[in-house]
């Protein structure tokens, strides 16, 4: 398995100072090159789960084994390294860096992991249909094009796992379908597994495996949040 989660919990202090459990996942697994959609409403812990898997957050308890490494036991710096080497991240708001060209953005995606590879970055941008926009600033692109740059950036470090957090949330339905198709194809072509979270039923329709987060996250299921 590429990803194995067991007895994972994460809680936060709410504004009233009361600790509030967001994640309580007894078990979840993802195979190499698998493409799984995680469905759930806002507040169901989808983004937090992705942050835990990516090592951005440290769990309160439990285990996250990614590519054979126990993320929960790693230092922050080691988690950064695992993330840089193994994970590509696609955000709802793309999070492209302003002031950086499309090519720079994609190259940043590989700089902290395997190292800068300009040819590969250019190939990725061509693959997502932006071969003629290498020097463009993301602000000069449409939202659909920006998301395509984000897809190229997520694949830039040749990740084993791509985490996509509501990747179609800011796109119209046509662009959303195209973006989703592109994400899935690009991940498959690059041998990366895909874990995509969304609350958009249309976006999830094409996935062979769709998991309702309420079925794996007891914390939010108990509160009645369900897909």
């Amino acid at each position: 398995m590429l990803l194995e989660i067991s007895q994972l919990t994460k809680s936060f202090l709410n504004p009233e100072g009361v600790r509030h459990r967001i994640i309580d996942v007894p078990a979840f697994a993802l195979a190499e090159k698998a493409q799984v959609a995680l469905a759930g409403e806002s507040g169901s812990g989808k983004t937090t789960l992705l942050h835990l898997i990516a090592g951005i957050l440290k769990p309160d308890s439990g285990s996250i084994k990614l590519a054979g490494r126990e993320m929960a036991n790693l230092s922050e710096s080691e988690r950064d390294h695992v993330r840089a080497e193994n994970i590509g991240y696609i955000f709802q708001t793309f999070n492209l860096l302003p002031g950086y060209s499309c090519l720079d953005n994609v190259m940043l995606g590989m700089s902290f992991g395997p190292g800068a590879d300009r040819d590969f970055a250019e190939r990725l941008l061509k693959r997502v249909g932006l071969g003629d926009r290498l020097r463009h600033n993301p602000r000069q692109l449409s939202t659909g094009q920006q998301q395509r740059v984000a897809v190229a950036r997520a694949l830039a470090n040749r990740p084993r796992l791509v985490l996509a957090d509501e990747p179609t949330g800011n796109l119209d339905s046509k662009n959303a379908r195209e973006a989703l198709k592109l994400i899935r194809e690009a991940c498959a072509e690059n041998g990366a597994a895909l874990l995509l979270v969304s609350h958009d039923r249309d976006a999830l329709a094409g996935f062979e495996t769709t998991v309702q987060i309420a079925t794996i996250n007891r914390a939010t299921a108990a509160e009645g949040v369900s897909a």
């Binding site: 950064d80 390294h81 993330r83 840089a84 991240y89 860096l97 302003p98 002031g99 902290f112």
Partner: protein, 401 residues
């Protein structure tokens, strides 16, 4: 280098604040370097420039006044001394050469000084360097109304060989006090970068017997420039003129007299240095403030970089390097401003004293001031860098931020 890319992009994204803080660093660096170099060069130059003489004999006054008047042609002459005083000191066995000078007139603000041809034929104003008259040209004939003009005077007044002029009475220019004697320029001195460049030289007798001067001045001079055979002679003359008598003053050694002057005005250098240090601190604080104030907009970018795998240390170092980069740009600006400041200082100093400093000469401040500013900038950068280090990645990746 990813960090170089991140720093470069950040500098461009914050171009205005980068430019302003770099300019303030530039001003601080330029001030520091200019103050130190001008102070150091002025000290070296003013204590070295002695026209090739060791001492000055003049009427009873302060040694400083004598030196400024007779060597630098700046102060008023305290009073005249008798010709026999010149003969007495030149006949002293410890005196190698005595050159009398007489002052009291000017031409358009530049001093007309009477002296003997030995001033030019027997004097080395620097070791191995004699005053030379440009070719074609020659020294004045002491029996005629002829003048040799210092290079700076010739340049400023556009005087050339063959030009005629009437001296004006007094050391300050007043059109109503023109002497009737007319002098012809027979030579222009090569630049010596000494006060002699700012003088119109005529015969001693020419000044002594200028129309309108008191009758007794015909046998008087303003001072005697003295070159000694050895330092012991200086001590002997110092004892004789300054301690045993009270009619004359022997200012010796010239460099020490000037060093005392510079020591007395050293507080001003120190004040300027304090101002420069303060400017440097304010400039560094400017870096701190400009980066710190932009942290709100930077947090999301930092969070994205962290999500891409950047470590906290990378973020910390990128902020420090950004501060250092601003300081480096500032230092480049500093050298430009420094060149401008010292050019002005050089022109002013030459115009006022005839002495020329060389701001392009190396001085250790050109190393330690830039390094100090870089260090200060790095220190200033640590505050926003620490803030960047602790940015909450998960929070700032959310769409609401």
């Amino acid at each position: 280098m990813t960090i170089a890319l991140v720093v470069r992009k950040s500098l461009r994204q914050h171009a205005l604040s980068t430019a302003i803080t770099a300019i303030s660093i530039g001003l601080a660096g330029a001030l520091l370097m200019a103050i130190w170099v001008v102070k150091s060069q002025a000290h070296d130059t003013f204590t070295r420039v002695d026209g090739g003489f060791d001492g000055v004999l003049g009427a009873r006054s302060s040694k400083l006044q004598l030196v400024l008047n007779a060597v630098f042609h700046l102060e008023a002459s305290p009073a005249n001394i008798e010709w026999k005083d010149y003969l007495t000191i030149t006949n002293h066995p410890g005196v190698e050469l005595g050159v009398p000078i007489a002052m009291g007139d000017n031409y358009r603000g530049f001093r007309v000084v009477g002296t003997l041809p030995e001033m030019f034929t027997r004097t080395e104003y620097d070791p191995g360097k004699r005053y030379r008259v440009r070719v074609p040209g020659r020294l004045f004939d002491p029996t005629l109304r002829e003048a040799v003009v210092g290079s700076y005077v010739a340049q400023k007044l556009n005087l050339q060989r063959g030009d005629h002029f009437h001296p004006y009475h007094g050391l300050n220019f007043d059109e109503e006090h023109e002497h009737e004697e007319e002098y012809v320029v027979v030579g222009i001195l090569e630049p010596s970068n000494t006060p002699a460049d700012r003088v119109l030289w005529i015969s001693l007798e020419g000044v002594q017997k200028m129309s309108g001067h008191a009758a007794e001045s015909a046998t008087q001079i303003s001072a005697v420039l003295v070159k000694l055979r050895n330092p012991i002679a200086g001590q002997t003359l110092d004892m004789q003129y300054n301690r045993k008598e009270n009619r004359l003053t022997f200012a010796w050694p010239i460099g020490t007299v000037m060093a005392e002057l510079l020591g007395k005005i050293g507080w001003f250098d120190r004040l300027l240095a304090v101002v420069a240090y303060l400017v440097a601190v304010v400039a560094a604080a400017g870096i701190l403030a400009s980066i710190y104030n932009s942290m709100n907009e930077r947090r999301r970018q930092i969070a994205v970089l962290r999500a891409l795998g950047a470590r906290r240390v990378f973020i910390f170092m990128s902020i420090i390097l950004e501060s250092v980069a601003i300081a480096c740009i500032g230092i480049l600006i500093a050298f430009v401003i420094y060149a401008g400041l010292t050019s002005v200082a050089t022109v002013v100093m030459r115009a006022q004293t005839g002495v020329v400093i060389d701001p392009s000469a190396f001085h250790p401040v050109m190393i330690w001031a830039p390094l100090g500013l870089i260090g200060l900038a790095a220190l200033a950068g640590t505050v926003p860098a620490i803030k960047a280090y602790w940015v909450d990645v998960a929070e700032h990746l959310l769409p609401s931020h």
